[in-house]
Symmetry: C2
Subunit: 278 residues, 2 copies
Amino acid sequence: MDISGRTGLVAHLGYPTGSFKAPMIYNPWFEAKGIDAVVVPMGVTAEAAAATLPAVFGLTNFRGALITMPLKVLVVPMLDEVSTRVKVAGSCNAVRREADGRLVGDMFDGEGFVRGIARKGCRLAGASVVVSGAGGVGSAIAASFALAGVARLALHDLDSASAERLAARLRLHHPEVEVTTGPADPKGFDVVVNATPLGMKSGDPLPFDVERIDPTSFVGDVVMKEETTPLLAAAKARGCRIQIGVDMLFEQIPAYLEFFGFGSATPEELKALARIRY
Amino acid sequence: MDISGRTGLVAHLGYPTGSFKAPMIYNPWFEAKGIDAVVVPMGVTAEAAAATLPAVFGLTNFRGALITMPLKVLVVPMLDEVSTRVKVAGSCNAVRREADGRLVGDMFDGEGFVRGIARKGCRLAGASVVVSGAGGVGSAIAASFALAGVARLALHDLDSASAERLAARLRLHHPEVEVTTGPADPKGFDVVVNATPLGMKSGDPLPFDVERIDPTSFVGDVVMKEETTPLLAAAKARGCRIQIGVDMLFEQIPAYLEFFGFGSATPEELKALARIRY
């Protein structure tokens, strides 16, 4: 990959940068496909965001940005146009600059989850989904499920006000979806989603009562620490189909590529080319 | 070259970025030497400089910057510490961020010229030098000659006030050097430097009366358009040793590498690895 002054700059913005994985996924793919673009990590703290993000978005060779912690919420009011996904999620992880300079934002964290289970055969139209965790990733997943045409979304968060706020945003932008809040009871749901950090530390309680998950349910986890979290192991033992956290990462990248206008790719292709250093 | 969140970011700042060459020289060298750093072009106009440069310098993974047109003068007051070369040249083309966050600036445009002729066998200590052109590059070359220990510097510029200002800065910072201003007469000088744009367009007059250049003189040109400019061709015909413009480019990069703490390299090594796309 030869970076030149004509190379499209895709800034990977967040802090700390040490654990960023996107450059090692996107750049090998750009290289393989002969796309003259590069993902460059740029460390920006929350405190620096107000001055730094507009400056980066204004670089003349700026094409777009991947936005990560702690900037996903902060960036939203800096944009000219945002998708419904951003409005529902309340956060943004992708920014594109149009030819006329306008900044457009979208949110693909939830897309990765939803695309992943759809590709695994899960039918989304009319489905019922329970999501535990109404923080950033849970909100993004709920936003993508609503857009994908599910019939019912049940939301749970230890901070019930957080679940209520997400429910209100969903009802505003997706009146066609039945949205409820309450305990994390997976009984009777087609899709069961852990969007809490439970499972990152050994000894964490399970986010759901596994005994109440139907064997026909699809169970997904956002925790990326291990390939199979305790929740997924228990769900698998019950006969459920599952989705691991890393799938969400690779499944969302095709959505990003389309958003930036870099064509598309399959998660398998991206995974085969990725040069992630741990 | 795998860019990760731990890769040191060297911003190449200027506008327009289309003709930038540094990424195709530095990055292959970093790759060959296993240095985890990357030069990334970032287009910044003069109008955007005040807001953008401090933002870029504050990126948490920012290690340093190469500064080019139109920012070399604008950047100077943004720095915490600048070298004598910067003070004399009035401009800066390299910025390094120290561990404590302080921004240090230096100027290597002239270093490239001076290192190049020194490596070609030109003795600098006590030498007499005439420089035509007291703009950015001429000032940088004069600054580097003064630091290299020449005895006498004669400056010429069509804009005589510009030559006078450079002379004043030289006298302030290098009282040991005899500095004069006046016409571009090369007679009797050990080193003759064209730092004007004359030679970029065919039909340009020569910057010096070649008949008055001593055959023992060393003649260098900053014009990079052709390998051998009309001035250099005429000087060569008189028996002078010469230095082409591209040498200045490759000779200054080792100085940059040392400044950033990336070790050193020879211009030949850099040239062999460079992947410049024209």
